[in-house]
Symmetry: C2
Subunit: 217 residues, 2 copies
DNA sequence: GTATTCGTGGATACATCGTACGGTAGCGAG
DNA sequence: CTCGCTACCGTACGATGTATCCACGAATAC
């Protein structure tokens, strides 16, 4: 059975997609590939490197986004591709931003993002670009993390109100009944469940508007 | 030796501050407290609940921020307190946003944030408030995560240019020399190392400006 | 042909982890 | 005194990442 980093990563991704990072182990990957666990060490230094490799493989998909002549269109496309990738591979949201992402595909995504953002009004030099990239990337990392967490919570507590009430609701209801969290209570009780993709897009636009409305520095 | 959730959490926090989450185990906490590992299960259901408890303890500190009459001052204070907490407890940045944070202190922080943000111009109803909270929290989660990651990278590769060159530099230099990442190369080579706190504040202001400049919906 | 070396691959082992489970000791109530 | 409950710990198990060693087959040298 010929092995390769690509093959190991693809298997790891498949297993992580199904079982999450907690359910992913080198032994399980090896078993799935039909080899002994120590074989993997011919290709990756340790588990951590394997995780980095998996992250870069996901970045390869994000990097396929078309470059547009208009900077904002490109940024929106990259951000949405990142979100889509995170929703397809939820473990990605747990890893994103937790390590420097320096694989070739991650660098390609970084390059496409930076090149587009350097065209944005308000971004007049390299310091501006660094700050703008920081704001955008921070938002994306946080937004996908929160969205995946919310999906997981919904999945584990049930997808309808009755299951929520049975699982998490009693505690939360009790807390909200203390009267100590009136705004949160209003959000929970009265808040509509906003469409996740629209929320992401809306808030991404908010961040980009903030970036482009900055006074020149 | 009388135990309590508070005592267990405080010990866990101390150990995680020193050794990171990877170096934190229930056995080590128990040993530090001078009890058997199974004792901990009288107080926490499992390791996951202990982590949630630790996060809520950190939120207690963030919740101590003074409420101001001016919404933006309050938001800035909460955001900066969150960043400060994450820098003091780097493991916090790995957990933030990865689970619903429903402990009493996290709810208190959420309440203070939501109450202040509901006063912001541009936030006219509960849908606006939900979106604005989403944007702000996403930014904070992502920004502290990235900043802690950068600190860890700097620490592990050395704090000066020479150590960086010896450790990560050869790979990155080789990649940048391919010419495939010209904007990234410019950022790495020419980019000043911006002050982290100023960057956080700048980008936080950027996000808030975006939130308050939105057209009414 | 035989002996030696090298490369590939797997088996075994170790330390560690979270947690299940069972047993014991001490204390308080009846 | 006995019994029940609580606190506590010891033992055990399955699982994990990874170190280390050994066996086997193929290639090379003589």
């Amino acid at each position: 059975m010929p092995l390769s980093r690509e093959k190991i990563a693809a298997t790891a991704i498949r297993l992580a997609d199904t079982h999450g990072l907690d359910g992913l182990s080198l032994r399980k990957i090896a078993k799935e590939l039909g080899v002994g666990p120590m074989r993997l060490y011919d290709y990756v230094i340790n588990r951590s490197e394997l995780l980095d490799l998996m992250v870069d493989v996901v970045h390869a998909r994000i990097a396929e986004v078309d470059q547009h002549s208009e900077w904002r269109t490109t940024i929106l496309a990259i951000a949405h591709a990142t979100r889509a990738a995170a929703l397809d591979h939820e473990w990605f949201s747990d890893l994103l931003g937790g390590r420097p992402h320096l694989g070739p595909h991650a660098l390609a995504v970084g390059e496409a993002t930076a090149a587009a953002l350097s065209q944005a009004p308000g971004v007049r030099g390299i310091d501006d670009l660094q700050r703008a990239l920081g704001a955008l990337n921070a938002f994306i990392i946080g937004a996908v993390r929160r969205e995946v967490t919310e999906r997981r919570t919904t999945r584990s507590t049930g997808t309808d109100e009755a299951a929520f009430q049975a699982s998490l609701g009693p505690y939360l209801t009790r807390m909200l009944n203390t009267g100590r969290y009136p705004t949160v209570a209003r959000l929970v009780i009265d808040g509509a469940h906003l469409n996740a993709e629209e929320t992401f897009n809306h808030n991404l636009t908010t961040v980009l508007d903030g970036i482009t409305s900055r006074p020149r520095t």
